[in-house]
């Protein structure tokens, strides 16, 4: 199944150090177009670091990363965003001083031409643009069922909704690849189900490629076609979800005794 897909994102031999800590050790992976790809592993195994390397936040010190055949490692984060990769963060990184709507509008940033003069001549210049983008944003709000909190301040809405707003912000950038860092942490069963639904809907509707980090194994096995398992910065397994996480090495380092392994 995986082989049939044309690769969209390719990491070749990626390494990253933090003051002597070798957080990523020569990781190579290839993600196919339209795939939902899981990234799992114990805490501190380098999952977030890999994602940060892809999105340009901590550029890899070794190896390279290609997106749609173009090298993106070494580009500044905002350039990578412009090239079509959007992401969410493990610790919610919304702009706390803004309303939900403004946060989501921020997702449209790469399509907008902000400048002070446009703001000054709002009625003649910026207003049309704002409203055009507003339509797009409302579509996403609709998709993710955020209508009720649209005008709330983000820091007073519950964490689950914040995560959803983050997803909305990422989707507004009309990415071709979506990177989700633990989108379901801190959610109960019901909320998890909603989130899964949204991710699947978005992926179907927009033909996205999704890279997802998650510790909820039920979710990972249910939606991911393939997973990569990291431990201590190195790959210990890769392949179809169920197979990879029943690998004895993975069970020992990550899953633990039988309960979740199924």
């Amino acid at each position: 199944m995986a082989a049939a897909r044309e690769p969209v994102l390719v990491c070749e031999n990626v390494s990253r150090w933090f003051q002597g800590v070798h957080a990523l050790k020569h990781v190579s992976v290839s993600i196919g177009k339209g795939e939902i790809f899981g990234l799992v592993g114990p805490n501190g195994s380098g999952k977030t670091t890999l994602v940060n390397a892809i999105t340009g936040f901590y550029p890899p010190q070794e190896g390279r990363i290609l997106f749609e055949g173009r090298q993106i490692s070494g580009l500044k984060p905002y350039r990578i965003a412009e090239s079509g990769i959007a992401r969410t963060f493990q610790n919610v990184a919304l702009f706390r001083g803004m309303s939900v709507l403004d946060n989501i509008l921020m997702g449209r940033h790469i399509f907008m031409r902000p400048n002070p003069l446009a703001s000054l001549f709002y009625w003649w210049w910026a207003q049309r643009e704002e409203i055009a983008h507003r339509r797009k944003v409302e579509e996403v709000i609709d998709l993710l069922q955020l209508e009720s909190v649209r005008d709330e301040h983000v820091d007073v809405i519950p964490l689950g909704l914040q995560k959803r707003v983050e997803l909305a912000r990422a989707l507004c950038a009309e990415p071709r690849m979506l990177v989700l860092d633990e989108p379901m942490a801190g959610m109960n069963q019901e909320e998890k189900e909603y989130m899964v639904r949204f991710i699947l809907d978005a992926q179907e509707a927009l033909g996205l490629t999704v890279l997802i980090i998650e510790h909820h194994m039920d979710v990972v096995t249910a939606i991911c076609e393939r997973v990569l398992v990291l431990n201590n910065g190195s790959r210990i397994a890769e392949g179809p979800a169920r197979e990879a996480i029943s690998d004895p090495q993975v069970v020992e380092a990550y899953i633990g005794k039988a309960r979740h392994a199924a």
Binding site: N43, G44, Q189
Partner: protein, 263 residues
């Protein structure tokens, strides 16, 4: 007399936003109780009410009583509440990032305690969490998520609590660590007789270890009972435990029936 009792507590944020209303709950001596609920239901608010940490968030208790053993907690400041024997492990870990793990532990030890007692407690924490001992000299801010969670719990134990309140201890931890941490919580409860009030999204794991649980929705307590009873409740099963069987995520409906207790 229960160890901790809340009766009819109401909390308002920022003078205008009513977050919980009429919450009553009890935790008995040596009990292990879970507080379950959806996002934004008011779980963290309830814990902060007990530990006295609402102030900095512009929250205030506008009605109700909180008692801990004999003592009325509401007039006490947060540190005095800790001194009286309760401790709160905050959501999101919030360890002292610029200190080493060892210093994190030292900082939490009560002022004026003897050095011998300090070492004893510290060794006990390191016994529970050997991983912390390995990393005791690096900056805590750079520990991995699981290690920080261990440190947060260890730090709380340094205050020699009679009641420990944990706010989502499993958040973001690997399945293996969740099991470990829950095992340690159970051990702390059974070996040292510390009462536990546990807020958890991972309801199935929580209901495995607690004796009883409360369900909070929209600032109200909507249900309570022993773990066994709750596990059998169909609503709890559907909304918190992922149904009776395995969930098929590709099939989950967009719009589900409303929860019965809200009707």
């Amino acid at each position: 007399m229960p160890r901790l009792a809340l009766s009819n507590v109401e909390v308002v944020y920022d003078k205008v936003f009513l977050a919980i209303k009429g919450v009553s709950l009890e935790v008995g001596e040596g009990d292990m109780v879970a507080l379950l609920g959806a996002n934004g239901a008011g779980k963290s608010t309830t814990l902060k009410t007990i530990s006295g940490l609402l102030g900095p968030e512009r929250g205030a208790v506008t009605r109700g009583e909180v008692s801990f053993g004999e003592a009325d907690l509401l007039p006490l400041g947060a540190p005095d509440r800790v001194a009286s024997g309760l401790v709160h492990v905050l959501e999101g870990r919030r360890i002292f990032g610029h200190l080493t793990p060892d210093e994190n532990l030292v900082a939490a030890f009560r002022a004026g305690g003897s050095a011998a007692r300090l070492n004893e407690l510290r060794e006990r924490v390191y016994a529970y969490f050997p991983r912390l001992k390995e990393r005791m000299r690096s900056k805590a801010g750079y520990l991995s998520g699981g290690e920080q969670q261990m440190l947060a719990i260890g730090r709380a134990l340094m205050t020699e609590p009679k009641l420990i309140m944990l706010d989502e201890p499993s958040l973001g931890l690997s399945p293996l660590l969740v099991q470990e941490i829950f095992a340690i919580i159970r051990e702390i409860n059974s070996q040292e007789g510390v009462s536990v009030l546990l807020v958890e999204q991972n309801a199935s794991a929580a209901l495995e270890i607690v004796h009883s649980a409360y369900l909070i929705e929209n600032g109200h307590i909507v249900m309570n009972g022993t773990a066994e009873v709750l596990k059998q409740n169909p609503d709890v099963q559907e909304f918190y435990l992922g149904g009776t069987g395995k969930v098929n995520y590709h099939e989950v409906k967009h719009y589900r029936r409303r929860k019965r207790w809200l009707a």
